[in-house]
Subunit: 350 residues, 2 copies
């Protein structure tokens, strides 16, 4: 079976490390085989959620995400309540990215011996807090011991009007690319936490953006109903990486105006104070959990206006889809920028 | 919020360890809160799968299970191919336990740095092997780094005829309790692996029962269609523990005849050779992944006969449901047996 996936079977073949091919290189090795098993009308690997036809009115969407201690969070530097909230929020963000309404979740926990029941109660309080806010029941899960690290896996389900889910594959040339929130705050928050940077008036906001992300659920549902919104996904690895998924799925290219990226004043001040590049954090930092969308060129003005009226906050246009397949061109005030960092790669950014 | 879950808030309160309350004691602390968020017709925490009404013909079932290195498997002692198979099989067993047809799965992987792409290819080959056998697509997942241990989380979905899922709560007094396979082989296999016991003619079979479990999918689908089958679940922690879930959900009691437990000759010989108690492995060892069912007293004979004709292997009757709520009485050749070990508790059996 190994030869099916194109691997050299020679005994002398050098053992390949995952860091060489990354998460998506690994997924490419097996995804095509499973596609043949998909029932008609179902969509599997490759979008924020899988899509399963349900009844004549709705499709079901399902997503799953794993959070590992010391990779996604440091247990001493996030409260159990916030961790409970965040682990659910990052999954709800994937549901939102389909334009779907979340309807339930499943939680698996691997728990090291030293974690107390009180810690777990607070974790579940946080999980319940966000569940209750959106009326989403925890419907099942699994609980087991862990040798050392706390691991959480959440699967979330949701419903979307039949055939109306917003897919990554729907971007068209001429679409305006936009995001629903500021970029880079979360990455700055992570830097503050990891490097134990000194506190000032900017830090609590940035740290909160990292520890307490908000899934753009209402925004996703609203955008999901707009005919002019073509592709949609959530910003989890940073737009430099995330945008590539839209381009690959849609067979398109993009140009991004770095001077249009929505950066908070607090991020700019923090980066200036700490000699960091705000643009880099905004494009490659990840974990912003806002939505990245492409909107039909002829409709974006009316959608922008309606969105602002609905949410009292703007959609931020950051670029345009074109026909240059799988290519992102970055500009700063009209001048081309080269060697921009890609998004976060768990297996490389050690 | 902590006071809501009944925890003493005193600052002097001793930190409670999870081992004191176990997995199910922990789940009891929060499950009731989420029940209030469940939509009408949905079933959440407490059965092998959650149940979600889909269309006029089918209900959807969903389950999730986590496998953690050094807790559920030792990476050196199971091949990646077998690990891929087993991780999916234990989830399909939960689908089978509802009488449902599996239709898809989701896989999250946390991968330590030293694991090679070749290892992962073999893991995915095993996962694909079982997926293809049952025509079940992998529909999504998550891949991330892990600081040290390999962690897999699988969520599986399935479909069952509307209102026909077999629930743990449906046992009735007078029901015959039966299992669809031998008990204790997997626990013996684990002992051989963990204690590196010497190889003989019995060991490969027992080790295979542990490393290559078979989910009783066809059996579950068939039993799910029999009107006389009341409650059903899969044997994952051992019947001493698993049966309690049926009794608790159904408000019933049970008597079990230990001399009726289906034990393989290889298990008996192995236990005799190694001074182990086969009955203890069969009741408390777990990971047999056969089905535990209760059958209407008046119908069990015809169901037993039809089952044998269908599968060329018997259903094994092991006891009877009664009205003694939450009580299991164990008998050996008619003589009451006390102090039987409970099933496997991850948080206690360290």
């Amino acid at each position: 079976m190994i030869s099916e996936s194109g691997i050299n079977k020679s005994a002398n073949y050098r053992q390949m490390e995952l860091s060489e091919i990354g998460e998506f290189g690994f997924i490419d090795r097996f995804a095509h085989k499973f596609e043949n098993l998909l029932a008609s009308g179902n969509t599997g690997i490759g979008d924020d959620c899988a899509l399963i036809p349900c009844d004549s009115e709705f499709d079901l969407v399902i997503t799953t995400d794993m959070l590992v201690e010391d990779i996604h969070f440091l247990r001493d530097l996030i409260s159990p309540f916030d961790l409970g909230c965040k682990s659910l929020a990052v999954n709800l963000s994937d549901i939102a990215a389909m334009g779907a309404v979340p309807s339930g979740s499943f939680l698996s926990l691997a728990i090291p011996d030293e974690i107390t029941v009180e810690y777990l109660d607070k974790l579940m309080d946080g999980y319940y807090h966000l569940s209750k806010k959106h009326g989403i029941p925890l419907m099942g899960g699994d609980t087991t011991r862990s040798p050392d690290k706390l691991v959480l896996n959440i699967s979330a389900i949701g419903k979307v009007a039949k055939g109306k889910a917003k897919m990554r594959s729907a971007a068209k040339s001429g679409d305006i690319i936009a995001v629903t929130g500021q970029l880079g705050n979360s990455a700055a928050g992570l830097k503050i936490i990891m490097n134990n940077l000194p506190q000032d008036e900017n830090t609590p906001f940035l740290v909160d953006c990292h520890n307490k992300p908000t899934a753009h659920i209402d925004e996703g549902i609203w955008l999901g109903k707009q005919k002019g919104v073509n592709a949609m996904m959530d910003v989890s690895d940073g737009i430099a990486s995330d945008l590539k998924h839209i381009l690959k799925s849609s067979g398109k290219g993009a140009e991004i105006n770095l001077d249009s990226l929505p950066l908070s004043e607090k991020l700019k001040q923090f980066c200036s104070d700490n000699n960091l590049d705000a643009t880099e954090l905004a494009t490659s930092g990840g974990e912003d959990y806002c939505l990245l969308i492409t909107i039909e060129g002829s409709k974006y003005k009316s959608i922008f206006e309606a969105y602002k009226a609905q949410f009292r906050t703007p959609l931020y246009p950051i670029g345009k889809i074109n026909d240059e397949t799988n290519t992102v061109r970055w500009y700063n005030k009209g001048v081309a920028v080269s060697n921009l960092k890609d998004g976060f790669n768990h297996f490389r950014n050690k």
